[in-house]
Amino acid sequence: MIVAERKPLDKIAGMIEPFEKVLIVGCGTCVAVCLSGGEKEVAELAEEFRLKTRMNGGKRVFGEYTLTRQCDMEYLDQIADVVEDYDAILSMACGAGVQFIAQRYDHKPVFPALDTRFIGVSMEAGTWSQRCIACSDCILDRTGGICPKTMCAKGLVNGPCGGTNHGKCEVNPETDCAWTLIYRRLEKLGRLELMREIQPLKRNHPATRPITIRHDSYKRFDG
């Protein structure tokens, strides 16, 4: 899933400061799971702003609405009427959701409440860890199911650099060296020969931004 973190409150406050009526829109998918932008987090943020407003004796209004997903027009359409009652939208979705809601309601200023961090997994309650950089050219078949482009700070595809230190990374001694992990995994699988092969050059072209793909089954509808 996509993992995001909420920006500091004062940063968000600074962005929406000129606006009297702000609709805070949550997203019920990835960012709800990682506790940064779901219904509960929308309610918390709205409450913090309301409290601030009361303390300052102001009259600002903070609405709440959490959509199933902000990366889908079908759901964005659901707030068409609500949006008209507000001066600005504060999206608690990932960067994709923020842009899509801004595109759908391009007559309203839209602001991001989160920093989108990575595609990752849930390690334990409250801890998420990056696993994929969406490189568009997956090589996990050759690396024992551990991605060196993501898990190695340098994204090296031909083995460890000289910065590998007792199984840890030079960038952060808390972080495992991806290539030590890959070596141990391939050894366990009896497939170390994969590590001995010189890998093809990284293909950066498929990841040239921005990317749009169309599913094969829909292509028959295309002209």
Binding site: K154, C161, T164, L192, R196, I198
Partner: protein, 294 residues
């Protein structure tokens, strides 16, 4: 035409190399004055490429400055700051400037240096840079396009860390570097004969000259620091203890003794020494004498 480094290594002679770090700023004169007195002792000087991710004068320009002084550079190129276009272009440009020895490295990560917010590139890695050099020498670039003039006599090398833990992945990469065209190796600093033996048992099969990396151990604190912080460097406790018992003024002497002992013992198992003096360059002549290399 072969470089002195290539000639001597291919003639199975024992070679000694050192380092010439480009300055941070334009005072190249001072940097050159520091290394020039060693020209009778060193075959060639490694010229580092934004070493430790600290922004400096380029390896290419400093290498050229050495050539102007009649000194032989080993031009280091890393993957941190350039993509494959820039790396190949830099290698061709270096060749045009008369540079022939090219040492291909991954490079430290930018977060370790003085511009931690910079974009780390690593489009290529040390293996694919070696492939790039080989392709260029054959008159093609990495995209398979023909060159108008090939840098046919580049002498390309690579590095390896004999003290890496675990060692096996490092040895696998060593083999890949040989396969990708590395013609010589310099190693990370080594402080024990046992460590070298474990590595060399594997490396000697490649039949590529390997030069022992020697770091001058300046103090016990430096030994402890390197054990904690420098990847692939393992200073045995006995050496740290030996340095700890030495008065400051006698440290260079003992440091030289330690390095010289290592060189004497490892000499039959390597084809040269690469000395990382880390500011103690003036002691290199004494070290070489003590190591019976003069």
């Amino acid at each position: 035409m072969a470089t002195r480094l290539q000639e001597k290594l291919e003639a199975k002679e024992f070679v000694i190399t050192g380092e010439a770090g480009p300055p941070k700023g334009v005072n190249v004169k001072k940097a050159l004055e520091e290394v020039e007195p060693l020209k009778d002792y060193l075959i060639a000087y490694n010229v580092t490429d934004n070493q430790a991710s600290v922004m400096r004068v380029t390896s290419l320009v400093m290498s050229y400055k050495l050539i102007e002084k009649g000194l032989e550079p080993i031009f280091q190129i890393t993957c941190r700051d350039r993509n494959r276009l820039a790396i190949q272009s830099e290698i061709l440009s270096a060749y045009v400037m008369g540079i022939r020895n090219v040492l291909c490295l991954t490079g430290d990560h930018v977060v370790l240096g003085d511009h931690p917010e910079a974009m780390p590139v690593f489009d290529l890695d040390s293996v694919s840079v070696l492939q790039a050099v080989q392709a260029l020498k054959n008159g093609k670039d990495l995209a398979g396009e023909d060159l108008d003039g090939a840098p046919t006599d580049i002498f390309q090398g690579a590095v390896v860390a004999p003290g890496a833990d675990p060692l096996e992945p490092q040895l696998i990469k060593f083999d890949k570097k040989v396969e990708a065209g590395a013609r010589f190796f310099q190693t990370q600093g080594v402080f024990s004969v046992g460590e070298w033996e474990r590595f060399y048992k594997h490396a000697e099969r490649a039949k590529v000259p390997v030069m022992l990396g020697i770091i001058l151990l300046k103090s016990a604190a430096m030994g402890r620091f390197m054990n904690e912080n420098v990847a692939g460097v393992n200073v045995p406790k006995s050496l740290i203890k030996r340095m700890a018992g030495v008065k400051k003024k006698d440290r260079p002497k003992v440091s030289i003794e330690i390095a010289a002992e290592l060189i004497r013992k490892i000499r039959p198992m390597c084809q040269g020494v690469h000395i990382m003096a880390l500011g103690w360059d003036k002691y290199i002549p004494d070290l070489l004498k003590e190591a019976e290399l003069l």
